[in-house]
């Protein structure tokens, strides 16, 4: 093996743990995360020539992984078109939280005092952390991908829409819906 290849392998392997963490945080399954990282690394290796050097290697690898994640999800989705329509038609307030004048019919703050503390204090609440994890898992996958792309990866709305395979026109409605659903799920869990 040339020393050039060895340097390249080292360069790739430097990012393996970070990529794995990213994959695991999205898939929450060690086997699937390993498969995804392996798939990403090997295809990146084959297309090393296309790396422009405009961004860092990690950004480039993460981009490839996002594409793979999306492809994988598309392949697994049984009826993606139908699901698209269902999500699009949902209004963020269609769950009966408001009356005909748009006033609350429920107390949105009931049982939620832990969310009104400073976020640092709230983050130490182990129940809260457990429920956040639970409610994130309950989000429909497309919604979760979109939400994470926007909130955690801090992509712009159009970028996040592309990265999660959502139409740009519905991205904003869906993001609103994701936040609304998450909060409602959290309240439901905390008051159960």
């Amino acid at each position: 093996m040339s020393s050039e290849s060895k340097i390249a392998i080292d360069l790739f392997m430097e990012h393996a743990a970070t990529l794995y963490g990213y994959a695991y945080s999205r898939l929450k399954d060690h086997h699937l995360a390993e498969d995804l990282v392996q798939d990403t690394m090997l295809s990146a290796w084959k297309s090393w020539d296309t790396f422009q050097g405009g961004s860092t290697v990690l950004v480039w690898l993460t981009g490839i992984m996002r594409h793979k994640l999306l492809d994988q999800w598309r392949a697994n989705a049984r009826r993606p078109v139908v699901q698209d329509e269902t999500i699009d038609e949902l209004q963020s307030d269609a769950d009966g939280s408001f009356d005909e004048h748009g006033s609350w019919t429920i107390d949105p703050n009931f049982g939620m005092s832990c969310m009104l503390q400073s976020p640092v204090v709230a983050a130490q609440n182990s129940d809260l952390r457990k429920y956040i994890s639970l409610c994130m898992d309950k989000l429909p996958q497309k919604l979760r991908l979109l939400f994470l792309a926007r909130e955690v990866d801090e992509m712009s709305v159009p970028e996040a829409a592309t990265a999660s395979g959502v139409a740009f026109s519905s991205a904003s409605v869906l993001l609103t819906r994701a936040r609304h659903l998450l909060r409602a799920c959290l309240q439901e869990s905390l008051t159960r």
């Binding site: 794995y20 695991y24 990282v37 609350w104 019919t105 949105p108 936040r179």
Partner: protein, 121 residues
Amino acid sequence: MSATLPPPPGDYQRSHKLIGGLLHKHHISCRDSVRLTLLSYDRPLTDKEKIRRVFHLLVCSICRRYTKQIKSLRLLVKRHVADLAKTQPREEFLQSLRQDLFSLSTRSPDQKSNPPTENDG
């Protein structure tokens, strides 16, 4: 899902029975303010929207607290995912990955003139 939750406090119910219709008419109801709060994280609100939202929050403590909740929620989600992303891969997986890259690089056409050397450290 909201069936198990109690209704809002009595003073809210009384006040919004009175002003609910008026707020609704001027697009400054609780629902409008919630929608604008959630939307504000994706695009800057227009001046009109900002005024509507601020006005609503001035008169409605329930929605003020709702806004706080959403702020905490976003931070908590970020932290949750950041914690998950710290998960480390198995050492065996890293080794086999390195091996895979190694065999790919020795097989690739442009490497044919450079046969792999044993034991490169």
